[in-house]
């Protein structure tokens, strides 16, 4: 175990302490299930104390990465190194990795206190130490008054917080979170999301968080690893991932993008009659007919009776309204302030223009991400 210390969490004493978590290195991981290559030579380095999110569609291999790290899956090849130690021959129970599962996974025969103390019991800590630590951790997650309750007597959010306390009780070298929020309702999810992030920063535990929820990723992670079909598409901080996606897959999977057919000429494309430079990255070498991938906020909209586009749909998102404009065969999504959006009626003819400094391009219909395509 590392020297990281889970101290009693009185509220004022814990300050973020950088660099005490473990460094994790995943090197050329390969794992196949029958004909399916779940991990295809994946390599990723996670810094000590970093909150790394693995994001991708179902079947991309993100959960497999987590299970390999935890020791629940064997590798065909490659290696997992934590703080310089190859974990190939280290069993799951000796890896000191706290894991929070999607399905709560509290032991139904134990109350909250005994659930949290379980890992300490396995480490042969004395009864008094177990009890003291478990109470502290339950206090930390705000559930000290629920210590005697059994899992079936607690809500989903409470159960997941107990699971988090249980994972932290063993002072893990790495905290593994396998879609811990996906079974919770929206309000509890948002609260627990903030709580997890706060605790992770307080304790500076290296954390790997698996999800397919973009909102969770963008609001929680230090860096995001976007995965597709067993390999990494891009690893970047959330803001960079959103603003500067390097592949068409990332552009379409993270956030919303509209595909507009254009022609590349001399490193430039003409979109809505406007000349724009092509963004450096995966598509920058393409020539001829390509698709421009446009974020809703990259496009400006102006009411114009002579405009080629007309409004087919509007979706209200509070401060912002998403307007869907049909121009020829293409459907383009544009975000406008809601006070502006309310003045634009369905069927109104509009003119579109690009406000981004450059445009990401991709081969035509290279990537189809169903979830993103279905978004208004």
């Amino acid at each position: 175990m590392t020297q990281m210390k889970v101290t009693p969490m009185t509220n004022s004493m814990v300050q973020p302490t950088a660099g005490v978590g473990a460094a994790v290195s995943l090197e050329n991981l390969v794992r196949t299930f029958g004909a399916v290559r779940a991990l295809d030579g994946l390599t990723l380095k996670i810094e000590p104390g970093e909150f790394m999110a693995l994001l991708g569609p179902s079947g991309c291999g993100k959960t497999t990465v987590l299970r390999v790290l935890a020791g629940f899956e064997l590798l065909d090849s490659g290696r997992v190194v934590v703080d310089g130690v190859d974990l190939r021959d280290v069993s799951a129970r000796k890896r000191d990795m706290g894991m929070v599962f999607q399905s709560y996974s509290l032991f139904p025969n134990m109350n909250a206190l005994n659930n949290v103390a379980f890992g300490l019991r396995m480490r042969k800590q004395s009864s008094s130490v177990r009890r003291k630590k478990a109470v502290e951790l339950l206090e930390m997650v705000g559930l000290a008054d629920q210590a005697a309750k059994y899992p079936h007597q607690m809500s989903g959010g409470q159960q997941q917080r107990v699971a988090l306390a249980r994972a932290l009780a063993i002072e893990p070298r790495v905290l593994l979170l396998d879609e811990p929020l996906s079974a919770l309702d929206a309000i509890v999810r948002a609260e627990l999301r903030d709580q997890i992030r706060l605790l992770q920063q307080r304790l500076a535990i290296t954390t790997v968080f698996v999800t397919h929820d973009q909102e969770e990723v963008l609001s929680m992670a230090d860096r995001v690893c976007v995965m597709s079909r067993g390999h990494i598409e891009q690893v970047a901080p959330p803001s960079e991932l959103y603003a500067r996606p390097v592949t068409a897959f990332v552009a379409q999977f993270v956030g919303i993008s509209s595909r507009v057919p254009v022609d590349v000429s001399n490193g430039e494309v003409v979109v809505f009659g406007q000349r724009c430079p092509v963004r450096s990255g995966e598509g920058s070498t393409l020539t001829g007919g390509v698709d421009a991938l446009l974020r809703p906020e990259d496009i400006a909209i102006e009411v114009d009776a002579e405009g080629k586009g007309f409004v087919t749909r509007k979706s209200f998102f509070g401060a912002m309204t998403r307007v869907v404009v049909q121009t020829g065969d293409i459907s383009v999504r544009v975000d406008v302030r809601s006070d502006v959006g309310s003045d634009i009626d369905l069927g109104t003819h509009v003119r579109l223009s690009i406000v981004a400094r450059d445009v990401l391009v991709a081969s035509r219909q290279e990537v189809v991400v169903p979830d993103a395509a279905a978004t208004p």
């Binding site: 969490m9 509220n11 004022s12 935890a70 020791g71 629940f72 069993s91 799951a92 129970r93 000796k94 890896r95 990795m97 706290g98 894991m99 599962f101 399905s103 996974s105 032991f107 139904p108 025969n109 109350n111 206190l113 005994n114 949290v116 103390a117 379980f118 890992g119 300490l120 019991r121 396995m122 480490r123 009864s127 177990r130 009890r131 478990a134 206090e139 930390m140 997650v141 705000g142 559930l143 008054d145 210590a147 005697a148 809500s155 959010g157 409470q158 917080r161 249980r166 994972a167 063993i170 593994l176 309000i187 509890v188 948002a190 609260e191 627990l192 903030d194 709580q195 706060l198 605790l199």
Partner: protein, 289 residues
């Protein structure tokens, strides 16, 4: 900074029970009554089907040779020649069968659920075989194949009973294991440092206790009722004794023994379930790591 999720925070939101909603519209009560009526009929028919033979047995066992109400058969039973020995043997065999069955079937079922779930169907089929194959075939095969020293021990019967009980034991355990998220619980335990034995002892077994108890009661009932194998293996268990016991009581003592066996199984069942419930209550009251 206040504790995250402390009282008053959004974490404290609990599911609020909604007001009871009227279950039926104006026309519904008739339908409801009809359903209840049919349920009652089914219940009564099933009850009659099961209770009449028991009533007949009890009535007969509480009569003397002259046909008058008497508890003579029950008073004579303990001193009946061979009864105590047969009861002791049956109890020993029952205990041995439960132990062997548990040691064999619990780890097997858990292993299949966790590691090779694709084998569950195969196991379903295999464990049905003892029902399909008549016990007489099994025991004749065993008696022909086993050496004399093995046949000289009554505990050979326990191994045979394990096979006979397998369909019931496996199904009980399978249902119990299927009712919990076994794989995740096992992985959670392992990630917290639990080895397989501790995971089994502290996490899995307590959560399949009802299934284990059910399997145990079914096994006991089977052992106390099995006649064919014991008789062919020449061991006088309770069922064999009942058949072989021959007195001038005209069967009253034998039926009394059968009734005692039946009531004994029920009492055992009630005891086991009560024990389980009281233990659950105790452990829930108990606070502390």
């Amino acid at each position: 900074m206040a504790p995250i999720g402390g009282p008053g925070s959004l974490f404290e939101f609990e599911a609020v029970e909604s007001e009871p909603v009227a279950e039926f519209s104006s026309g519904a009560p008739t339908r409801r009554r009809r359903i209840r009526w049919w349920r009652l009929v089914v219940l009564v028919l099933a009850g009659v089907y099961f209770l009449i033979p028991i009533y007949a047995g009890l009535k007969f066992s509480f009569e003397n040779v002259a046909g008058h109400l008497s508890d003579q058969a029950f008073r004579d039973l303990p001193s009946a020649p061979g009864f105590t020995a047969a009861l002791t043997l049956s109890l020993k065999l029952a205990l041995a069968t439960v132990v062997i069955s548990t040691v064999l079937m619990v780890p097997t079922s858990i292993y299949v659920h966790v590691r090779v779930p694709q084998l569950r169907r195969l196991l379903d089929v295999v464990t049905v075989l003892p029902i399909v194959i008549p016990p007489i075939v099994l025991i004749v095969g065993v008696l022909g194949a086993f050496p004399q020293w093995a046949k000289a021990s009554p505990y050979l019967l326990s191994f045979m009973y394990v096979i006979l009980a397998m369909p019931f034991v496996y199904r009980s355990l399978d249902a119990g294991l299927g009712a919990i998220d076994l794989k995740t619980l096992a992985e959670a335990s392992r990630s917290l440092g639990g080895n397989w034995f501790k995971t089994l002892w502290r996490v899995i077994l307590p959560n399949i206790r009802p299934a284990l108890l059910s399997a145990t009661v079914l096994t006991l009932a089977l052992v106390f009722g099995e006649y064919t194998m014991a008789s062919l293996d020449l061991w006088t268990t309770i069922p064999v004794w009942i058949v072989q016991f021959n007195t001038s009581s005209n069967g009253h003592i034998q039926v009394a023994a059968s009734m005692l066996g039946l009531v004994g199984t029920w009492i055992l069942l009630v005891l086991v379930v009560s024990l389980d419930r009281s233990q659950s209550r105790r452990s829930r009251r108990k606070l502390g790591a």
